[in-house]
Amino acid sequence: MNWSWLQELLSGVNKYSTAFGRIWLSVVIVFRFLVYVVAAERVWSDDQRDFECNTRQPGCSNVCYDHFFPVSHIRLWALQLILVTCPSLLVVMHVAYREAKQRKCREAEGENCRRLYPDPGKKRGGLWWTYLLSLVFKVAVDVTFLYIFHRLYPNFNLPRVVRCTEAPCPNTVDCFIARPTEKKLFTYFMVATATLCILLNLCEMTYLVAKRCWELAARRQGREQLSKPTGCHHCAQQKNQGLSTSSSGQAPFRSVPLYRGEGAASEGRRGSYLISVHSLSLAQTPSTSANFSPASFPAD
């Protein structure tokens, strides 16, 4: 097993991400994984062998290396990269669960089975929360590891010489780190990319929450504008089964559905999430890729 296995897993995540999520994934793969594998690993390869102490005391070098490098940068980054990509798998698993549920229903009831999810990959209902939670975990992992790095290696600095007084070293001994400047540069680079990833995740979280609030506000506004109350669950179901014409007499629109108490804007135009009494044609099978055009689906 090597990094390519993780890469294959991640490529499946791309389908269910927003635009921010795809940029985040590109940054992680190109600037973190690739740099780690092709460059950083080589820099740290002779880490302990070339850690030299100004003493002939046996064991002093080992003890000093262990004191100043409790966990090597390279291993910390490997852990960080694995943990930061894991939350995305939650989303993949949730979508797989939805698809399995739909498949089971179809097997059990045949063609009579109503569609549970018009698009299992669409971030609505539980999947929206799973996605948001995965973003929170990603930020938490990156922040935690940055904090660990800062505690272990203050200011992410790697000096040329460290002074060691651990037993069995006699008195104070000078120990010299191999390639400190190169290691420092790569450390700064990896810290910068981790910070960029945190910012991207925060932007994505803000975007998701803002979009949802906007949709809810628009739905509330739309409800107030409509003459008939649409709060009734059964009325919404009936409406969703057929199409109702708008008050302006233009082409039909889909009414607002209810899905576990959450609303969904039912627009097909990218960037416009207002529920409108005017016509906006909707795709019956909304797109599975970027979350540009939310679509409605029947309530459970």
Binding site: N2, W3, S4, L6, Q7, R22, I23, S26, I29, V30, F31, F33, L34, V35, V37, V38, A39, R42, V43, D46, D50, E52, C53, N54, T55, R160, V161, D174, C175, F176, I177, A178, R179, P180, T181, E182, L185, F186, G268, S281, A283, T285, S287, S289, A290, F292, S293
Partner: protein
Amino acid sequence: MDWGTLQAILGGVNKHSTSIGKIWLTIMFIFRVMILVVAAEEVWGDEQNDFVCNTLQPGCKNVCYDHFFPISHIRLWALQLIFVSTPALLVAMHVAYRRHEKKKQFRKGGQTCEFKDIEEIKSQRFHIQGPLWWTYTSSIFFRLIFEALFMYAFYFMYNGFRMPRLVKCNAWPCPNTVDCFVSRPTEKTVFTIFMIAVSGICILLNVAEFCYLLIKVFLKKPVFFFF
């Protein structure tokens, strides 16, 4: 995950590139990535082990190596190749976005839809015009900037492109001035000049592609393009 990842990413962009862009991509992978992986890495593989200083003072070798090679040639080249390839991702993202829009249109079943099925959309080649022209041109511009920056960084850090046989070091804890000997200096110089020359060719190709795109646009719509 290795250079194959980069190749996979850039391979997708190749379809939508100009002819000069395709030549650039070929040169990138054959004369830079491949040479880096199969040859240059071997030459620099033993660089610190065989960096020998004329002293028994512990730590002197480490400090002198760090002083004269703050960042190894190999790592600089790896970073250069990654950064120079990254702008192509902008084009890949733009193409993916256009494809997504076309798929949406196809699914709505618009009358203007000219595709028979989704597979045709997936394999469609987009011409470099309109907003894609701006994305593509920006990516070439950034490529040029990154290439120039890295070449300058090389020149600045190593005072030229020649690897000396002997360096004189007086950094602490070395006693006085100490002679340190670089391993395989001639071979390293040859590869450095080779990689710099190929970088130069890539810069020229990028400039040519940039001019070609500008000329193409100005010939089609001389004045009104930007309005």
